[in-house]
Point group: none
Chain length 238, copies 2
Amino acid sequence: MTKPIIVLVRPQMHENIGAVARAMANFALEDLYIVAPRDGKPSQKAYAMSSGADFILDKAIIFDSVADALSDVNYVFATTARKRDIYKPAYNPMEAGEISIEKLSGGNKLALLFGAERAGLENSEIDLADALIHIPVNPDFSSLNLAQSVLLIAYEWFRLSGQKTKYSPNEIKFATKKDLDYFYQHLETELEQRGFFYPIEKKESMVQTLRALFSRTQMNEQEVRTMRGVIKSLTKEL
Amino acid sequence: MTKPIIVLVRPQMHENIGAVARAMANFALEDLYIVAPRDGKPSQKAYAMSSGADFILDKAIIFDSVADALSDVNYVFATTARKRDIYKPAYNPMEAGEISIEKLSGGNKLALLFGAERAGLENSEIDLADALIHIPVNPDFSSLNLAQSVLLIAYEWFRLSGQKTKYSPNEIKFATKKDLDYFYQHLETELEQRGFFYPIEKKESMVQTLRALFSRTQMNEQEVRTMRGVIKSLTKEL
């Protein structure tokens, strides 16, 4: 069975990248993707903080954008501290661990997105996620650092994957994020041409609504093809 | 209900004491006992690392020995990384969280013992404990730092004690089946007119595929209106 991929989005401090690698190693995670790190690829500071999790830093992959990092990923969790106005299913780390095991055993590639230290994830990045993870913390003291968030989520996955899962794995292969992106672009281009996004200031939130709606349905490859056929058909002139 | 007390035994780095205070605050723990800290009571370094959990450091109590710290405590867990030859019941953090809640609600004072960064706890100190906690980690990379051990155990206690932990899904009003049906009929009529359902024998299964896809997404009323707007827009002649 494959394991979840940790995706750090615009991390700033190399020390934090190192601490994340250490937390990953503690719970047997292996794949680290880093999107647009402020200070470039892991430096000596990252290695020092990893306490020997060099093997994770050595094979970490750097990407320019979240979309690039997720292009061949089938299922994505985004961890968010703040409540968002986006309607997506939200889970605690234990539930996310259970779902991860289920998705991974279906042959899907699964990623866990973590935003930058302060800024977190942008809405357009959260749009790419299938579901959110909220870590339940003391509401009066809710600042978890990056490595601690990774630690808790990795812990739950590791703990639960060591047990027999109560979910029967379902064998659905979801569409990749790249296929989904082509679908969204197709839909949005056709809508744009017909003046759907009006007034223009609302375009972003309208796009977000549509993407959230379709991401919840977790289309498989065949369904994405069907939906592209639907758009093609509807835009045909009678 | 009272809460578990965190007892750090002979901690060395003040930074670690601060990081422990932060982890405690994240999961609403309040009482920190420090036994024979190498460098005396929490210094500025500890406060800096606590990220604002000053209130915990301010009222931390320093003791000379583990026995002193535990003198009025009723139930003690000792966290140990290495397996010990001591026969004591051993639990994982989740089980320890459950037991803690049970003991605390019985009016007991409960403490969680954490040994020094490298040396851990002495056998005579472990003798004072009622039970052990083992954190399940990757056997090939098992070094958790002090604050991370505290974090994971505090997380389980907090999660299980249910302090505002369960995120209730937003109050979502799903669309009625009637609204959904109008939407499906709208979509299918437009597709039919454009020859989407071809060959005709396949129409039924194609309709079923589309309805299954949209039903999974559980649209709310607003989203159904949005999707009807999408169809109306896509079928507009350019």
